[in-house]
Symmetry: C2
Subunit: 104 residues, 2 copies
DNA sequence: AAATTGGGAAACCGATAGGTTGCGCTTATA
DNA sequence: TATAAGCGCAACCTATCGGTTTCCCAATTT
């Protein structure tokens, strides 16, 4: 029941949470205010995000601030790499084509 | 019941299929041979990938070749952009720090 | 024309997702 | 010390996921 990052970012609410705390660390209550759900639902999302180490906690009194581990996002970037080569390749070809057209 | 690309790439089998046909267009049967599932299961995955226009079909007699629409992958890349700024920013700060240390 | 092959659609199934409500624990405030 | 605030956990519910099996249709072979 390994949880991976791709599953974590599959949910739109989770992506929104990620974008939110990318700016600054936030508490579950503060996060929940941005959505039309209960704090508990947000808490569940945070747990999933924590499980794949996309976010970390910092306790401050009775509050818990969650913050994004932005480096983990590189894993998605790494996966994209293989396709980037392909679409980059197309640009190269386009460049060549344009260059060819220039010569004429 | 809008299907989006992030949900499409959430499933590991689907990511494997994407990687497979990125190399060359393939038929459902050919794809299924690479996995431990039935052709019908693969067919379902292909339908989901089609729904969010990640792949396109090309009929050839009674065979159907599925090929990757690699450009669609840019949507993920686009989403990553906001975080790339952050992790790029960290490097910049590190550079500044190193520069500062050099001066002393 | 009959049999085979490639493929999608539908019905069904167990597992999981994402939400809610209710509860209990800890820390802060009155 | 009593009350309130912040949070996580567990139980529960419905919808969806990912898979299988069965069936049917179109295009090839024989």
């Amino acid at each position: 029941m390994r949880r991976d990052i791709f599953q974590a970012i599959a949910d739109p609410t989770r992506r929104a949470i990620i974008a939110l705390i990318a700016i600054q660390a936030m508490t579950p209550n503060a996060i929940a205010e941005h959505f039309d759900t209960t704090r508990q639902a947000v808490s569940k999302h945070l747990r999933i995000l924590s499980e794949c180490e996309l976010i970390t906690q910092e306790h401050k009194g009775r509050e818990i601030y969650y913050q994004l581990e932005v480096d983990r996002m590189r894993e998605v970037d790494k996966w994209l790499e293989q396709f980037r080569k392909i679409w980059q390749g197309r640009f190269d070809n386009l460049d060549k084509l344009l260059a060819k057209m220039q010569k004429k």
